[in-house]
Amino acid sequence: MFAEKAWLIPLLPALSFFVILFFGKKLPKGGAESGILTVGTSFVLAVIVAAQWLKDAKVVDDHLTWWSNGKVHITIGQHVDGLTVMMLAMVTFVSLMVHVYSTGYMHGDVRFTYFFAALSLFTASMLFMVLADNLLQLMIGWELVGLCSFMLIGHWFEEKNNSSAALKAFFTTKFGDVGLVLGTITLFFAAGQTFHIETINRLALDHDISHGLLLAGALLLFLGVMGKSAQFPLHVWLPDAMAGPTPVSALIHAATMVVAGVYLVARVYGVFWSGFSIGNGGLNWMAFIAGITMIIAAGLAFVQDDIKRVLAYSTVSQLGYMVAALSVGAWTAGVFHLFTHAFFKALLFLGSGSVIHAVHSNNMSEMGGLKKYMPTTYWTFVIGTLALAGIFPLAGFWSKDEILLGAMKNHYPYIFLLGLIGAFMTAAYMGRCVHLTFHGEYRGHGHPHESPRTMTVPLVLLAIPSVFVGLINAPGVEKFAHWVRFEVPGLKEAFEVPEHKFNPGLALFSFAVAAAGLVVATMVFYWKNAPAKGAWTRVPAFRALNTFLVEKYYLDHLFVGGVVGSIKGPIARATYWTNQKIIDGIVNAVGVGAKLVGRFTYDVIDQKGVDGIVNGIGVSASETGGVLRLVQSGRVQQYALMLFAAVGLLGLALILFT
């Protein structure tokens, strides 16, 4: 009943976009009320759809034909299943919180109305993408969220840094999108000219598409995922994207847009499963990239001074976890982590926004001791930190544990190992972040104060699911795996992603690892006379590591200096030598020969033959033109006369010859 009307959910924020665009400045709250109202209604609708899904679990898959050409039908449709329902509810909830929070955070901003218009459009596009039943529609939504991200990162475009960051984000993701487009085209032809995702999944899992094509499709699509979900080495845009307003960082760069890539993998999982042969275990390209991503991003989070950048690298690392989960066949775990991560990462970002609002600086070196000034922000931030670190029984613990379990049971030992190291690092850098921000002495200027009610209420509302949402897949409950499943109807052989039973020993171990991370962080950054204090600067090896991390593994240098510079430097010289000595020799020899042939050609063929013809054509055209010029008198009635005469003659011919 209600699930068939799911298309209303993206439609409402889309309408709101136009309302704010045209009438926003005239509304009493500058357009904010329109955004909040529509996103709120969408959230209620999403909850109703979710409730219906929990009741009868009926998949809705219908579409309208947009236009058709021969047997190719381009459609626009909706596919409502567990994954969609989960995403709809999550996106609308986080978006609603961010809308409410923004009324406080953006209060008095020069482009307040414009900001809310972009937020509404973003929400609409994301929901449109989530509902898509075909790859083309998914791609349209995907590009729209990319556009909104660009608009919002560059919200304060008067500063050069911000507009550069927006461009960097746009170009980096567009680079990945080339892969997405090519992958979509590959799958379109591989699946017999259809974009329909369910059909593509079915054909892929039935091995009706050759493995080579599936691998090509999966690799190309994964390039898009690497751009959008910030996987190594295309993760460089995400930390810079922190130039945008903090609510945007929470909504786009933590909870929703960046998970679009993960969502794509989860949605078209049949292609990835067969293309990368995930069921076989061992090593695949996706797992390789995800493994690198989660460790290097976690390393970078240690050395950032900007609180938002810590969270940004943490996001990159967590996206690595989600992709890793999908790459080892732990579909449910990956999607579950996406779900839990959205709540606590949005909470952490909004918390950091609240701090920035109070001290007017992003740098943790100008914070400290904020616990007593802003208690609500402090406690919610701590909840978010514990949830992200994976402390029992908060949300992150359950989902991270499932990923590790999946990696171990599905024979991906190195992902399991990297995951454990990552869990330790996550707990440690988040511990550092909390200690530097909220404990110790206040190092900034002015008098910090707690944020207004519009900002703290969303924090509390996000803290509640951050604590409890993990419990829905706890042992004994295990509802999530039941509600959100990867199913493809009509398969020759039934396919099920592997599920594993909760393993208490492993859970205890991963919990101990995370706790150890927090303890280490406390030892280094909280105790005044800790032995490890200052080790970063005293020990040369650590100092070198520190510099290496501060320079972000020299990746930006590699992209700009390495790729561009090496072409200018040795490679260019080597190329020049080869060019001068070898190629020039060949070219010269060819040249002499060519010259002789050319001389002959010029004298005989060109001058006499071709030129004769060309000149002849020219002269005849010119003379014909001279005659026809008389006809072009510019007088309308003469043209009309010729028209009627011609019609008359044709009519006469018709009568005479039939």
Partner: protein, 99 residues
Amino acid sequence: MPITEYLLLSAFLFCTGVYGVLARRNGVLVLMSVELMLNAVNINLVAFSARLNDPAGQVFALFVIAIAAAEVGVGLAIVLLIYRNRVGVNLDEIDLMKG
């Protein structure tokens, strides 16, 4: 139903229109002559529609009327602009497109 009279009327109107388009110097009168031609066609369409008992002809006639209205709108706008620019609508003088 005898149809000859209708066709004769239509042919007469059409020829008048053609003459007007070709011979008149005034732009407005040329436009009016075009209308005459269109209406001659309409008479033909309606007459055959009645004769053959097929409403398609009448539908076409309605279309022609609608399109003719749009055409006159555009045409008069052009004539008006020409008048403003050159103070006169003598078609002989308007030969900017002379090759």
